[in-house]
């Protein structure tokens, strides 16, 4: 009765488009992304490849979600996530989520059309790498203390922003700051007087930044979002980054688990492949289950997010997937090393790159504990009447 393989079932046009995006990302990854890159890039001042970034832009990925008016494709978070997942699965240090999704969308959600016309086409073309500088404490809910004081039509910014990704290689920063009663967003090009960037090494081999602002002057033309719309613009782009960031973690899970199950199939000890030992089998199944829960939840969250809802509903959706993805990825990362045994702990074996990138991205934008808390708050847990 039900013998038609799923793949032969008719797709709807949106799914077909997503499948094609996925296939082009896969083909690109097969040609361009090799784990060996990671060993070279981490030794350089900027730990990703601007030439490759330009090629990615040509594939349409840096502008995938950006408005058509500025050269983008205006696609949704589900499409973006599909591309991110496939590229990340092959290890991608280029800041597609940080710059194209988070910073790009944040600029697009702002209310400065002239600035959009200046920055977004450059991002679409692969000539601009923006970063968002928003966090001021260890946790994503640490309050913003940075202030933007009006000085005529311009603003003067003071504050310290931490954990900015990318740090090394960013051409400029979208900075959040208290502005009157609201939250303003400001574009500060790298090297602006008074804006000092200090770099720290993330475990994934990239440098992230702490941006210290001392009386930095920002002209009205560089206000990304006025205090009227800043908070809403930020939340929306942050949520989009959480979803795409979860897709990035999902890709890493797939890469790490593929390597691990392959190792289990081939590594022989006690005269058998170690994957024939039931204790390892059951643990591997549990990892697969976490991976597929993430994948299924990602599909659902992206769909519901695109359907829209209240601010709290959208926050809850985005936090739901980031919590699952971070937990699942961390579990897979730890077990990937354990199941590889000692070889997995060596730098010359590739699984460590997955391990490290997972640790870095699980923490970035808030770890699972932080997002469960945000989810609980935004979905009204314990507040039922």
């Amino acid at each position: 009765m039900m013998s038609t393989p799923a793949a032969q079932v008719a797709e709807d046009p949106a799914e077909e488009q997503r499948r094609m995006l996925r296939e082009s990302a896969l083909a690109f990854a097969a040609n361009e992304l090799k784990p060996a890159r990671m060993r070279t890039l981490r030794l350089q001042p900027v730990q990703f490849d601007r030439k490759l970034w330009k090629t990615m832009a040509e594939m349409g990925w840096t502008g995938l979600m950006l408005p058509e008016a500025h050269g983008g494709s205006a696609l949704g978070i589900a499409d973006m996530s599909a591309v991110v997942e496939e590229l990340s699965r092959a290890l991608l240090p280029e800041p597609l989520v940080a710059s194209a999704v988070f910073a790009g969308n944040l600029i697009a959600h702002g209310d400065n059309d002239a600035l959009k016309a200046k920055l977004l086409p450059a991002l679409v073309a692969g000539d601009l790498i923006p970063a968002v500088a928003f966090q001021e404490g260890l946790k994503i809910d640490s309050p913003v203390q940075s202030r933007a004081e009006a000085a005529g039509k311009d603003f003067v910014l003071n504050g310290v922003k931490s954990y900015v990704r990318p740090g090394a290689g960013a051409d400029g920063f979208v900075v959040s700051a208290k502005c009157g009663d609201g939250l303003g967003l400001f574009w500060i090009p790298a090297g602006t007087t008074g804006a000092e960037l200090k770099l720290e090494r993330s475990t994934d081999g990239t440098d992230i930044g702490t941006l210290t602002l001392k009386n930095v002057k920002v002209g009205a033309d560089n206000v990304v979002a006025s205090a009227k719309v800043g908070a809403a613009a930020f939340d929306r782009a942050f949520n989009e980054a959480l979803i795409a960031g979860s897709a990035e973690l999902l890709g890493l899970m797939r890469g790490a688990l593929d390597m691990t199950t392959n190792y289990l199939r081939t590594r022989v000890q006690f005269g058998k492949p170690i994957g024939s030992f039931q204790a390892l089998q059951h643990r591997a199944v549990d990892l697969y289950l976490q991976q597929e829960l993430t994948a299924a939840a990602l599909v659902e969250v992206a769909r519901l997010f695109e359907e829209g809802g209240s601010g709290d509903q959208l926050n809850a959706l985005a936090s739901r997937i980031k919590a699952r993805a971070s937990d699942a990825a961390m579990q897979i990362a730890r077990e990937a090393i354990q199941m590889h045994g000692a070889i997995g702990f060596t730098d010359e074996y590739d699984v460590g790159f997955y391990f490290k990138r997972i640790v870095a991205l699980s923490a970035w934008l808030g770890n699972s504990a932080e997002h469960r808390r945000r989810y609980a708050a935004c979905s009204g847990i314990g507040k039922k009447t």
Binding site: M2, V9, L264, R265, Q281, A284, A376, I381, G382, K384
Partner: protein, 382 residues
């Protein structure tokens, strides 16, 4: 005759919902235990008379002939309303098997009486020494003229005490590979030599039975699928029913109860409880997302991949975690049997904790599911 499949999904959903709301007894909503035939049979007869009893069966056999997509809507609406499960082995297991593999005589003899509720079927598969390793079953059937003579013992037959008929896996050849000597038999439960004994569980109920066969004579015509082909017959039953073993229904319902209790007793004032609850809420939400992946495949008429086994594992283990948190949140009342007072509401705390136990065992234990996933999905070596 209504062409259900021609309706829009939404139209069909409204009709289904209204049918349930109009007819399903209020007091049986969200039952905390499996209902016995005496409790639920009126609902069965109501559905039967309205023509709704066998939504997935072909119209020619008395069903509604629903397409898979519509069928899932029907299941969803039942789950949303908290409709209890009637003894349904006739409808979901043996009926479809007879439709697919039965002779014209078998179809004429059995199918109409499943539709009317005159026949209630029970399953006799497991044996004391054939649990996870079902194929090692030993209940024996020896041909004697035009009858098989059956001897042996079956166990874990759900609600067999309510059954009028049993479908039974028996060994008819001991000299071949264990899967190749098994035959699938239809047996009238009133045949002399059959003893059905309910098993009392630690939860205090008796929904499982032992069934003893002592020289039970079964007409040879009652074989389905051919002698020694019983293993194949049993495997064809594992159609998309496999999804429903992993339905989010039970954990979702239990989570709702936990939320109500927690509100009443002020457990959400405790950040630790709130985080644990939130984790479980996300576990259930993501189970729903995963469940939808597979129902979507069915809806489109696709074939289920073997990793559908994940659903059963995650659903039952999430349910068990919810039951554990319920016991923990109840503090000193966590160890009480039966309904007890919890912040002014009356709740049977232990029911879920008890039923979380067999959930991870029956329908292929979670260990067996993990073995299947390891081999069929991860391609790990035997």
């Amino acid at each position: 005759m209504t062409n259900w499949n021609a309706m829009s999904d939404e139209e069909f959903r409204q009709i289904a919902r209204k049918f349930i709301e109009d007819n399903y007894p209020q007091k049986l909503r969200y039952p905390s235990k499996r209902l016995r035939w005496a409790e639920i049979k009126d609902w069965y007869f109501t559905q039967s008379k309205a023509g709704w009893i066998a939504p997935g069966w072909p119209v020619e056999h008395g069903g509604m002939g629903l397409a898979p997509g519509k069928l899932i809507i029907w299941v969803e609406e039942q789950e949303n309303y908290g409709v209890g499960r009637a003894p349904d082995h006739g409808l979901t297991m043996i009926g479809p098997t007879i439709i697919q593999l039965g002779s014209p005589e078998q179809k004429a003899q059995y199918l109409p009486k499943i539709i009317t509720g005159e026949h209630v079927w029970g399953q006799c598969y497991s044996e004391p020494n054939a649990g996870s390793d079902l194929a090692s079953l030993r209940t024996e059937a020896v041909l004697d003229g035009d009858h098989f003579v059956v001897n042996g013992q079956k166990i874990w037959s759900t609600l067999a005490q309510d059954a009028t008929h049993l479908y039974v896996l028996v060994r008819t050849d001991k000299n071949v590979k264990k899967q190749e000597g098994i035959t699938f038999l239809l047996v009238d439960a009133n045949t002399p030599g059959i003893t059905i004994r309910p098993i009392m569980t630690i939860a205090g109920d008796d929904k499982f039975c032992e069934v003893f066969f002592d020289n039970v004579r079964v007409p040879a015509a009652n074989v389905i699928g051919g002698v020694n082909k019983g293993w194949t017959v049993a495997k064809t039953q594992l159609g998309f029913e496999r999804i429903f073993l992993g339905s989010p229904k039970l954990p979702q319902y239990a989570l709702g109860r936990l939320e109500d209790i927690a509100m009443k007793i002020g457990a959400f004032d405790d950040a630790l409880f709130t985080d644990k609850f939130t984790q479980l809420k996300l576990d259930v939400a993501d189970l729903n997302a995963l469940y939808r992946r597979y129902t979507e495949i069915v809806r489109r008429g696709g074939q289920l991949p073997p990793d559908v086994s994940m659903l059963k594992v995650w659903s039952t283990e999430t349910y068990a975690r919810i039951a554990s948190l319920m016991v923990e949140a109840a503090g000193a009342a966590g160890g009480l049997d039966g309904a007890t007072d919890l912040g002014g509401m009356t709740e049977d705390i232990m029911t879920h904790y008890y039923y979380a136990r067999p959930a991870t065992i029956y329908g292929g234990s979670n260990e067996v599911q993990r073995n299947i996933l390891s081999r069929a999905t991860l391609n790990l070596p035997g």
